[in-house]
């Protein structure tokens, strides 16, 4: 009975924030970096809104962002709220499925002004995510972090807000699709075409196969310690090949090759036809 009377110091986590995680698309990182590079002279950091959606499993999918101009002086932060709303409207015209999921700021960790801005975003969306991108790389390798805020209250009185770090998924399948070779370096003179891309892929595959050969040989000769997991993966990979008799396999490959050859032949014939037709067309006009 007494406990109900007692005021307790407690965290009141916002609903569903307990097992929250976030996924960041590479575009967001690119956008933030670009905004940071283009920030105005006096600004030390850039702040912006994160857009995205909440996946069925509760993960927050951050897939777009835009910068919001702000003024910061001696503990005061003034955000251009009109700008924020205009930009939001514009973005939603293009893709109505993207909603506000939080906000980002450059710099290391959470700073004093962050709580104020976080408050503002809490009014826009329940439990916003705060993403920080350390453009100075002061903290070694983990430059990108995500937080949610948890309120610390004493009874009815709110005392403070605590920022809790949440797991962030930085695997970038889209970036891999485009190719890290293009996104990683500062200048790429030429986009790889069909065959060049194929060549690099094959080279990588070759290196992998060589590695495995070496590993298996080492294990067989007793030079390296066998690892059951690797063995299982290898067995799986080998057994995933369908068992075909050489004749059947040869037939399959040859059929496919012939199909492709036929197509090539067809397309060359079409081209020849086109150039021939052009010659005839221009010649036929001399009536």
């Amino acid at each position: 009975m007494l406990t109900t009377e007692r005021t307790v110091l407690q965290f009141t986590p916002t609903p569903s924030s307990t097992s929250l995680s976030a996924k960041v698309h590479p575009l967001v990182i690119f956008n933030i970096c670009d905004c940071y590079v283009r920030r105005s002279d006096q600004a030390e950091r850039v702040i912006g809104t994160l857009l995205g959606s909440i996946l069925p499993d509760g993960t927050v999918d951050i897939c777009n962002s835009y910068a919001v101009p702000h003024n910061e002086s001696s503990g005061q932060v003034a955000l251009d709220i009109d700008y924020h709303h205009n930009m939001l409207l514009s973005h939603q015209k293009v893709n109505p499925k993207e909603v506000i999921v939080g906000w980002y700021s450059t710099g290391l960790g959470v700073t004093g002004g962050s709580a104020l801005i976080h408050d503002f975003y809490s009014r826009e969306v329940p439990s916003p995510i705060h993403l920080t991108v350390d453009t100075g790389f002061r903290n070694g390798d983990t430059a990108i972090k995500a937080y949610v805020s948890v309120n610390l209250s004493l009874g009815e009185n709110q005392l403070a807000a605590q920022f809790q770090e949440i797991p962030l998924d930085l695997r970038m399948v889209e970036a891999e699709r485009v190719g890290f070779d293009i996104l990683k370096t500062t200048t790429v003179d030429k986009l790889p075409n069909d065959l060049e891309g194929m060549e690099t892929s094959m080279q990588r595959l070759l290196v992998l196969i060589d590695d495995i050969y070496k590993y298996v040989d080492d294990v067989v000769e007793g030079r390296a310690l066998p690892d059951n997991d690797i063995g299982r993966y290898l067995a799986e990979a080998v057994s995933s090949l369908p068992i075909l008799s050489p004749q059947v396999f040869d037939k399959l490959v040859n059929d496919n090759l012939q199909d492709n050859l036929l197509l090539l032949y067809l397309s060359s014939i079409t081209r020849t036809q086109l150039s021939l037709a052009e010659k005839l067309n221009t010649a036929a006009q001399i009536l």
């Binding site: 990182i29 956008n31 970096c33 670009d34 590079v37 283009r38 105005s40 850039v46 897939c63 777009n64 101009p69 700008y83 205009n86 930009m87 514009s90 015209k93 293009v94 990108i144 930085l170 970038m172 889209e174 891999e176 699709r177 485009v178 190719g179 890290f180 293009i182 996104l183 990683k184 370096t185 500062t186 200048t187 790429v188 003179d189 030429k190 986009l191 075409n193 069909d194 065959l195 891309g197 194929m198 892929s201 094959m202 990588r204 595959l205 090949l241 490959v253 090759l257 492709n260 197509l263 090539l264 067809l266 397309s267 079409t270 081209r271 086109l274 067309n281 036929a284 006009q285 009536l287």
Partner: protein, 338 residues
């Protein structure tokens, strides 16, 4: 603006009419590449467009940012809304120091069938306002095969001149020695990233030596893609045949008209001979009011040129994919023998 000397004042630079060097390279930021891909992929298979922002530096066109357009609807009110959206977006982006100088637009395409009259019209519209403009084409259907299908195009100058004067008749084309290959010019693309992004991406790159891209490339089945390509190719061929029929029809009409003219002339001459012997004034040998002397307009060759361009494009794609399949099949064979 080849290389304006720093001592010249802005007015001087502005007043001197300089001959622009030809556009050699389109330099795209990685950010723009990702934005275009995101927009085009999200709405695939619907076709979408957006605006490119950037700077025009000598023979390089830098594309530093872009923004998507909402899907267009055939309604005037909404169209006005679209214009507002564009202005609003430009204003907002300027506030965060993004280059707000339009350099062209991007659009998605399905299997590369982008050579349409609409594209040419849009291009001409843009060209009226900005001297140098480019169209970036992205094909989401090809990205599943590990290819970054980005293309930068512009219309060639000779084509624009012809198009403005609406000179798509055989004689003019022959005069200019203009063929279907000269409509579009593909400009090489360069991708650039800021050092900051480069640092982040190096840090974020996965440790595994294989990436999704490699996986996509080594996928054995390219047949659905090829099939659709061939299907489109056949459709185009039919269209082209239709165009050819139009021309045949035109030539047949032309020769029939000439025959009629000859017959009429012969008749008139014999009449005149008769009149001469009778001592009367000869009738004129030309009669503009006669319908057989009205010239028959020649159908425009633009459509058949565009179709030809598309066919060539499909052929290229088939060649590319078939080439890839060859390497895959031989790889497969080699692996199997081991």
């Amino acid at each position: 603006m080849a290389n304006p000397a720093p001592t010249r004042s802005f007015l001087q630079v502005a007043s001197t009419e300089e001959v622009a060097p030809p556009l050699r390279v389109v330099q795209i930021e990685g950010l723009v590449v990702l934005k275009i891909i995101k927009h085009c992929k999200e709405f695939s298979p619907a076709l979408v467009t957006g605006q490119l922002l950037g700077l025009d530096v000598g023979s390089i066109l830098e594309v530093t940012n872009c923004f998507p357009f909402p899907i267009r609807e055939e309604d005037e009110e909404i169209e006005a809304d679209g214009a507002n959206y564009q202005l609003e977006m430009m204003r907002c982006l300027r506030e965060v120091n993004v280059d707000n100088n339009t350099v062209g637009w991007y659009q998605s395409t399905l299997l590369g069938c982008f050579q349409t009259v609409e594209l040419i019209e849009t291009f001409m519209n843009y060209q009226e306002n900005i001297r140098r403009c480019v169209c970036i084409i992205y094909d989401p259907s090809r990205s599943n095969q590990g290819v970054l299908a980005l293309k930068a195009l512009k219309l060639s100058d000779s084509f624009m001149e012809l198009y403005r004067n609406n000179n798509f008749v055989g004689e003019k084309l022959r005069e200019k020695n203009f063929s279907w290959m000269d409509i579009f010019e593909e400009i090489p693309i360069k991708v650039s990233n800021s050092a900051l992004i480069s640092a982040f991406m190096t840090g974020l790159e996965a440790e595994t030596p294989v990436s999704q891209c490699d996986f996509d490339r080594l996928q054995l089945s390219a047949n659905p893609f090829l099939e659709r390509n061939v299907e489109f190719l056949i459709e185009c061929m039919d269209d082209l045949a239709l165009e050819q029929q139009k021309f045949q029809f035109h030539y047949r009409n032309l020769s029939r008209q000439q025959a009629q003219q000859q017959a009429w002339l012969q008749k008139r001459r014999s009449d005149n001979m008769a009149r001469k012997t009778a001592g009367e004034e000869p009738l004129p040998e030309e009669d503009p009011s006669n319908p057989i002397f009205k010239p028959i307009p020649e159908p425009s060759r633009l459509d058949s040129f565009l179709i030809t361009n598309q066919i060539a494009n499909y052929c290229n794609q088939i060649n590319g994919v078939a080439g890839q399949s060859f390497s895959r099949l031989y790889l497969m064979k080699a692996l199997h023998e081991k």
